[in-house]
């Protein structure tokens, strides 16, 4: 996937910027607050319909303006031209239009521009709570599978409905079996679809993760990924060894249904759903110990990079497109050796890469890099092509 052109209007401090990126490395440099990351955010907006930061759309609009607009033109493996525009005006619904339709909804555009994003903020994936790892899985799978995304959206709705129903039963001290079961069935069905897909995903990505980790660290440490679906503990070993998709589905369904029966009295007491994939964990192991507890800062960084490269290879193998890669301020956190390792790997992969950094100096002497990189100086939300 190649972004051929990117237009940004009234996004943070960008008034009206146009980027014509090069096919390989694009390096945006400038002082803090100059608007480098905004360019990566713009790419996230056309890919996911929203920024990777937690900012609201209103907060993304330039001060004193009442809308922002991002437009991208891309071209894929087969030279198919794809265009997308995201427009947000204060107080209105976000308007998305692309080559397929004038009016698009977010779930239809996600995955059209596959994206891998790496920034220091994402260190929570290996260091933080399980929620961060679930979000990681969901974000990758949403890009590679439309049915996963649809199931996930529906699952979240079903979970809310089920919670609301349980809390109503608790409040009124009543219970309607048929009413409950209709929602419980929908909930378990969607939960099963999500869990089985996550199983498949972790099975595919974990060998990639292991291989890439040993490539970048070049040492004897062994990492591993283990998916632990909440509510399947009893059958866990059985599930790990199950290769047949239909059997896996049935087994997960059964264990969720069993859990539901067992937990119902407690759920009714608390008015809350107490099991399901919203509580899943993806364990990251380093030499058989929990990485979250044992790994050093340096090991965490290497694991994050390995995970992100595994994501890249996974998305590539599923979508047949090399994702666009965003590296946000990463180099502030890495030593020079690892930076070159990361860059060389990306160049070998032929991934179109967008990098932000404050100081491009240390890249200057690397002539091999400079022959394939395009540099943009960013100042006060303005872009300047720069020849170094």
């Amino acid at each position: 996937m190649q972004i051929k052109k990117l237009k940004i209007q009234h996004l943070r401090n960008h008034i009206d910027s146009e980027v014509i990126p090069n096919e390989k490395l694009n390096i945006f440099y400038g002082a803090n607050g100059s608007g480098k990351t905004t360019i990566l955010e713009a790419i996230s907006i056309v890919s996911f319909s929203k920024s990777f930061t937690n900012s609201t759309d209103t907060a993304l609009i330039q001060n004193g303006e009442n809308y922002y607009k991002v437009l991208a033109e891309t071209s894929n493996n087969f030279d198919f031209k794809y265009k997308i525009e995201v427009f947000y005006q204060k107080g209105q619904r976000k308007k998305i239009s692309d080559s397929f339709a004038e009016k698009q909804i977010p779930k239809n555009i996600i995955g059209n521009i596959p994206l891998v994003h790496l920034s220091p903020d994402l260190k929570e994936i290996t260091m933080g709570s399980p929620e961060n790892r679930r979000e990681f899985i969901d974000k990758v799978l949403s890009q590679s599978s439309k049915s996963y995304l649809e199931n996930l959206i529906n699952f979240k709705k079903a979970l809310k409905q089920r919670n609301s129903l349980l809390s109503e039963f608790q409040r009124t001290n009543t219970f309607d079996k048929n009413f409950f079961e209709s929602w419980n069935n929908v909930f378990i069905d969607l939960a099963t679809k999500i869990i089985t897909k996550r199983f498949e995903f972790v099975n595919e990505i974990s060998p990639l993760f292991k291989r890439i980790y040993s490539e970048i660290t070049q040492n004897e440490e062994i990492v591993d990924l283990i998916y632990e679906p909440n509510s399947c503990e009893e059958y866990f070993q059985d599930l790990l060894n199950e290769d047949n998709k239909n059997q896996l589905f049935l087994k997960v369904f059964k264990s969720l249904a069993g859990k539901s029966v067992k937990l119902l009295p407690v759920e009714l007491k608390r008015g809350l759903t107490l099991f399901g994939p919203q509580k899943d964990e993806l364990k990251i192991l380093l030499n058989d110990a929990l990485a979250r507890e044992q790994a050093s800062q340096g090991q965490h960084k290497s694991m994050l990079i390995a995970l992100k490269f595994a994501e890249l290879e996974f998305l590539h193998s599923i979508t047949n497109e090399i994702p666009v890669v965003l590296l946000d301020d990463l180099f502030a956190e890495l030593d020079e050796n690892r930076i070159l390792l990361v860059l060389n790997k990306l160049i070998k992969k032929n991934a179109q890469t967008f990098i932000t950094l404050t100081e491009p100096k240390f890249l200057y002497p690397n002539t091999q890099l400079n022959s394939i990189a395009k540099y943009f100086a960013v100042r006060y939300g303005k872009l300047m092509d720069s020849q170094l």
Binding site: A158, K160, E168
Partner: protein
């Protein structure tokens, strides 16, 4: 007040309270009405009063009607042993347009949604059960949303003891569209519900 007349402001606000109508459209409509002649306004307001006064729910299928039972329920031509269950009266129109369904309807007036406080009692589900007597098949034609799915499950469970056949409408490729421009989800559902020819 930005308008020079209270009546105009009131009209704009009323129109803007309608679904899909924003403030600007409401304003345009109001000025359009101001310019139209008395006859038009007369019949417009009469039509408004009429839909509220004359239109009621059919006591059998709960579709909107002026005669009870409604023309569909009282028609001799309809097959009286098949009921198609839909969410809203507008769905009846959608299915009638096909000219392919000759059974009866049952309008639920919504779907079960605990979040919005809509329990089965709020819908015309009990009334559906009362109709089952000599019915052979119930077709559930609810929207493929999570709420539609849960409502279908709920009804199917209630109907189970009656031994009546319960079916759901299929999900798949829209006719007249090409595979290339159909979204992946529709295609994957269509593939899942494929049949041999």
């Amino acid at each position: 007040m930005i308008y020079t007349s209270d009546s105009i402001e009131k009209m704009v606000n009323i129109l803007a309270s309608l679904p899909t109508i924003g403030k600007k459209t409401a304003q345009r409509l109001t000025y359009h009405l101001l310019k139209s002649d008395d006859d038009y306004i007369e019949s417009f307001s009469q039509a408004l009063l009429d839909i509220k006064k004359k239109v009621k729910l059919c006591s059998t299928c709960f579709n909107y009607t002026e005669t009870d039972p409604c023309p569909i329920c009282s028609s001799e031509k309809r097959k009286r042993r098949i009921i198609c269950v839909v969410e809203d009266p507008s769905d009846v129109i959608a299915i009638e347009k096909t000219n392919e369904f000759f059974g009866l309807y049952h309008v639920l007036h919504g779907v079960i949604s605990p979040l919005e406080g809509i329990s089965p009692d709020e819908l015309k589900i009990k009334e559906l059960i009362q109709r089952i007597g000599n019915i052979e098949e119930v077709i559930l034609a609810l929207n493929p949303s999570v709420e539609g799915e849960a409502t279908s499950q709920y009804i199917a469970k209630l109907l189970h003891p009656f031994g009546v056949a319960v079916t759901r409408i299929a999900m798949g490729m829209p006719i007249g569209s090409s595979l290339e421009f159909t979204d992946e989800l529709t295609i994957s559902k269509a593939i899942m519900s494929r049949f041999s020819i």
